[in-house]
Symmetry: C2
Subunit: 162 residues, 2 copies
Amino acid sequence: MPPQARGRASDSAKCTALDNDLTWAIRMISMALRRVAAEAAETLPGGSRAYLVLMALAEAEDKPPTQLELAGQVGLDRTVMTYLLDDLEGRGLLLRRPNPKDRRARHVILTDEGRSQLLRIRTELAAAESQLLVELSEQQRAQFRDLLAQVALTAARGSHGD
Amino acid sequence: MPPQARGRASDSAKCTALDNDLTWAIRMISMALRRVAAEAAETLPGGSRAYLVLMALAEAEDKPPTQLELAGQVGLDRTVMTYLLDDLEGRGLLLRRPNPKDRRARHVILTDEGRSQLLRIRTELAAAESQLLVELSEQQRAQFRDLLAQVALTAARGSHGD
DNA sequence: GACAGATAGTCAGGTTTGCAGAACATTTTC
DNA sequence: GAAAATGTTCTGCAAACCTGACTATCTGTC
């Protein structure tokens, strides 16, 4: 039995208890998005972390990062990165290319398969997002996005000055 | 070193990568609320799970649940519930009262201390919620709550028919 | 050019954490 | 009296993570 089954049951129990208006709403939406993200990334070894790695690689595709740089970008330990890349390389999503200038370092580059998997996940996430807003009018969606962005900025400000 | 330090760093790394508009905003807000909830509940043994237990107890205070009922409500294993209640009882937040009608079962009841701790946490959470909306006008807040509730219902519907 | 020290990546443990199964005592129910 | 249920404890498992050692390489200094 996958660990998600238990976690999800526990989360739904939380939801019935935590309906403090805003917190409950945010939690429901966040859970829905997280669930979709987990499902979209569950075919990848390493789950959502693999998604982060693929994102980082796609962003800097012109200048492939080394494993250490990659680890720093996504906040992982280098040893963890080694295992993660082992799995991802095993599935043909990326390659480790030794740097001829510094033969200690290995640059990580996306394969076509990796790019297509990343595209698949992004598409699924985008679909889930728009599905969430399906009951809102066009005007309401714009309002919602604006308000959400503003509140998110407030939240980000509060978290930065920790 | 607390595990939150690493988790938080990784989460902030996620945020820079995942700014897909809506998902990013929801994630920021959810993280801020989670952080506050974790801080508010960190004085309790068991963290946010203890908060769930206290909530469940306060909701059904006229009919104190047994440990097994409580475990079912918050989605915990009964063995885990035993340990959690050990800690909470040790801090005087609740009592285990044997049921004279069925001396196998033990009802769990809130103490005054438990009630006051619960009130404290709820107050902190409410303060954090309103702090999030501090930059919005009164009208915007109402709009935001309405839209958020509607989207949350959509999200909940999607999760129910899993 | 040779050496010491630093660095990238890998790997083999060990630690922690959290959960759940099994066994047990106590009590109820049939 | 047999079977089931509640709660407790012991135990082991599994995942995730990190530390430390190791190899291979680079960089600086003499």
